[in-house]
Structure formats: C-alpha cells, structure tokens
C-alpha cells in the first residue's frame, strides 16, 4: 500500500476550520495545543458558542408553555434544533427525542424494554467492544428480568466475528445493541449487515452512534435501524444534550421513561395520559440552550460537509497509522480494515498512563486508560491504551507532533 505523504493531504480549508475553534489557539505547557482527545469530547466552533450566548442574552424562556413572545421564540428555536438534527440523520422530527446524551438514550430504551418487552429467558446481544454505557444498562435490565446478555466476540484485529453473530440470532433475542464505531479500537462495524441479519429474524437493532456522528454520514431510514443514540458534545456541540432516534412505531410502543411536566396530555390523580412522541419522553424542562447549541453544531457540520469530513479524516487516519508504525516497539490495539476516529496503541512495555503524562508535558492531549471499555481491555490482556482520536480540525502537523512526542516519552521512560 502506498502511504499518503503530508503533501497529499493538504486541504486548505482545514486552517480556516481551525480558526473557528477559539480553544485550539492556545499553548499548553508552553507548546501550541495538539488536541487528539476527540473521542472523549470535541471542541466547539464559535458559531455554537455564539448560539448559546444569544439564547441566554436574548430569548431565554421555558418551552412549550408560555404564550409570551420569548417563550415562543425559545420553543421555535428548540424545535428547529430538533428538525435540524432529524434532517442530519435522515429522520422525521417526531422520531428524535432529546436526551442528556448517548448514555441517557440507551438507558431510555433499556428501561422501556425492561418494563414491557423483556421476559425471563430472553436474550439481548451486544459486542465485546462496547463502551460501558452500552453494557451496564442491558446488564441491569437482564438481571432484573432473568434474561441473558450475549456478547459477540471479536478477532485479534478488533473486528466483529460475524459468523458468531449469525449463529447467536434466534427467537429469544429481543434486541441487538451494538456500537457503530468503537471508541477504543476505531473499528467501523458492518452495521448494514448487522441490521439486515437481525431483521431477517424480526429482531430490532439499536446503534450506539456516539463515535460515528462527527465522522460518518448517518441516514437512519436507509439503514433501517430501529434505534440510534448520539451525543452532542462529540459532534462539536455542548455537553448535556444528545438524541435518541427511534422508529415511530417503536417510540409509540415504549412506555414513558420519566414522569413530570411537558410529557403529559392530561393529569388527574386517577390517571394520566401522555403527550405524543417525542415529548412523551421529555419530562421536565429540557436542556433548551444545549439543544439549540446542538442545532448550531449540526448546521456547522453541514456547512463543512460530512462527506468531505469523512474523506479528509480517512486520509489523515492513514497518515497517522503509517507515521506511528515507524516508532520502534509500537503496536496498535485495533487494526480493523475499516476504521475511523480512534487510534489506540502501546509502546514496548511502557504504561499508557506514563506516556500520557509525558505527552501532556509537551502540550499534546490524548486519552490513556481503559476508555470505559474494561471488558475489551481484558480481552486483549492490557491495562489500557494510549488513544489518539481525530477530528476534522486535526492536521498532519498534529500527527507529526504526536509521533515526536511519543518518541520523546519512550526515550525518557526507556
């Protein structure tokens, strides 16, 4: 395979893009910041920050309640954000529930399945590369109902064992919940195949798209996925907001998650009727400002173009993998054929935390540790990894700094 050189990957727009992120224009420990922890959270462009400031300075008000002007403005902006996110993932707006984030969205579905669908002896399928947030909610639901949690194994390269997956599908399986892109390995899972195979047997599929949203186009109806969760803060938006997409028939079927204001149609002490979807799942005053910020983030991604982002990041990932490979003793954890976002590695017998501390001293932000995927690290028999995770504003210069930084760290630790 021919390796892309830095010259091949010149994309003039990236410098303009970087200028839109105030936080990237600083030095950390005396060096210009290299931010490679995008899998944990992405930075925010000025348009997102401004949208949130405008909300609080110009029309902060509660939604879906008041007849006064500000409340109507806030409601309009909040619902416009829902429309924007829906369009971004190819959904109808009433199929998009605002949640606190991906974890909250998965818990919402898990709670619904626990209450109405899951019975003793049933099964839920997840995979060996799941984030704790796509393990623990199902574990809790299964424990309560006497159901079984089944785990699709992965290969040493970090790819799903699709033969095993096929053989695990049976009428007892009530849901398959799998990550689209692994936060630790960077593996892009064959979601089309997973959904098609599960649907052949009438089994619904939920996708954890937390790591996919900023990197790959999402079209839920083309995918025919039943549920999909994503987080705003991993998509250049604020923390505390995310969405659950659910097919309308599924959202109708699931019971409310929490009770409170905004989710009701009529309340008496004897009986309450609930609001239509998606408001049935949005009890209490929602994260209005954050939703509006997420809408602005989606608008920002649309302006750059998710296909362009994907193509650029693909080249940058190849460049990074080739450059890191030159470091003596470095081994990748996760070498899937289709990958995106995260690049995990270890060097010799150095501890990831030591490498992370020494990179930080050089102004380079990476994540070290188990990345909330302890069972996955156990699978590879490692305490964790050093993880560099890319976003559209990263450059080949960032990768060069990373490689130089790792070399320096390894020399010091040597």
């Amino acid at each position: 395979m021919e390796t892309a050189t830095a010259q091949d990957i010149i994309w003039p727009e990236v410098e303009l893009i970087r200028n839109e992120f105030p936080i990237l224009q600083q030095t950390v420990n005396g060096r210009p910041l290299v931010y490679l922890d995008n899998g944990a959270t992405t930075q925010k462009p000025v348009s997102v920050i401004r949208s949130m400031q405008e909300y609080y300075t110009q029309y902060n008000s509660n939604v879906h309640r008041g007849v006064h002007t500000l409340s109507q403005q806030a409601t309009t902006a909040y619902e416009a954000a829902r429309h924007a996110v829906a369009a971004f993932i190819g959904a109808h707006h009433h199929e998009v529930v605002f949640t606190k984030g991906t974890t909250d969205a998965i818990n919402l579905v898990a709670a619904g399945f626990r209450k109405t669908i899951l019975k003793e002896g049933d099964e839920i399928i997840i995979s060996a590369m799941e984030h704790h947030s796509n393990i623990v909610p199902w574990q809790l639901a299964c424990e309560e109902k006497g159901a079984k949690l089944k785990v699709v194994p992965i290969s040493d390269k970090g790819e799903l064992d699709m033969d095993a997956f096929r053989s695990m599908l049976n009428p007892r399986v009530k849901l398959v919940s799998i990550t689209w892109i692994s936060n630790t390995l960077g593996t892009v899972n064959p979601v089309h195949d997973i959904i098609a195979l599960a649907h052949e047997q009438g089994i619904p599929v939920m996708l954890d798209a937390a790591q996919a949203a900023a990197h790959t186009p999402i079209k839920v109806h083309e995918l025919d996925v039943d549920f999909l969760a994503l987080s705003g803060h991993k998509l250049f938006g604020p923390t505390g907001i995310g969405i659950l997409f659910g097919k309308e028939s599924w959202l109708e079927q699931l019971p409310p998650y929490q009770g409170g204001g905004d989710m009701i149609k009529h309340v008496t002490f004897e009986k309450t009727t609930y609001a239509d979807v998606p408001l049935k799942f949005e009890a209490g005053t929602p994260a209005i400002c954050e939703a509006i910020g997420l809408g602005a983030a989606v608008a920002w991604v649309n302006r750059i173009g998710i296909h362009k982002i994907q193509a650029y990041e693909h080249q940058l990932t190849e460049y990074a993998v080739a450059a890191l490979k030159q470091i003596e003793g470095l081994r990748f954890i996760g070498e899937a054929r289709h990958r995106s976002g995260a690049i995990s590695f270890l060097v010799g017998d150095t501890h990831p935390s030591d490498v992370g501390v020494l990179l930080d001293q050089q102004g380079i932000a990476v994540r070290t540790g188990h990345h909330c995927t302890q069972p996955l690290c156990d699978r590879f028999g490692i305490p964790g990894t050093v993880r560099a995770s890319l976003a559209v504003y990263n450059t080949t210069a960032d990768i060069d700094r990373l490689v130089e930084g790792v070399r320096k760290a390894v020399t010091l630790l040597g």
Partner: protein
Amino acid sequence: MTIKEQQDRIIEDFEVFGDWMEKYEYIIQLGKDLPLIDPKYKTDDNLIRGCQSKVWLQAELQDGKLVFTADSDAVITKGLVSLVIQVLSGHAPKDIAEAEIYCIDAIGLTSHLSPTRSNGLLSMLKQMKLYAVAFQAKSMQN
C-alpha cells in the same frame, strides 16, 4: 530527619532541574530505584485502584515507627510514590497523621494530586494517613 526536613530536602533537590524533561527523568529514575515490594504484599487488599494506574501499599509498625513499602504498574506513579515514601516512611504514626504534605505542590507536580488525574497518588496519601491514624489509635488502646 523530620517529615518537614525531608520535604525541604526534596524541594531543594528539584531546584536544580532546568526543564520538565530533567524533572521527569529524575522521577522515572526514582520509580525504577524504588525497592521492590515483597510480592506477597501485592494483594487486592493492598491495592489502591486509580483510573489510570495501580498502586499497592503495605504498612508495618517497626519499633514504634510506621514503615511503608509500595509498588505501581506505571513508572511515573512509582516515582511519585517513592517521593511520598521518602517523606513519610519511618516516622511515628502520630507525626504521619498530623503531617502536612506541601512538597508535591512546591516542586510543581500539583496536577498529579488533582482528583481528576486519578493516578492513585492522592488515594495513596489518604491511605497512608488512614494507616497512621489506625496505628495511633491501636497504640493508645495498648
């Protein structure tokens, strides 16, 4: 040397370092030089779990003094552990319980003590003090 004198000596030692690399080189060396803990003490009971790295800590009372031995799977953590042991090990439980640890701040490694770093150093310091208080209470009973 008292706990205070030990800390002042460490602060003095660190004053010679010109940049972060020299400082970390020294800490890494300390980590490598830390006398090995007796493997029989590397038990789950003695494990202080941080998010990033593991620390094992063993405490023993010898002639009225509290002696600590420790280990970590990460060498920088081990170096920091070694510093803290230099300061606290071999003193009376009462002195350890009452000691104020200021040398980590003074040598510019405060970030390692922040709860967000979660590398076990902060938990280890707390654990050492807990041992000291426990041994102190025990000696008062006797």
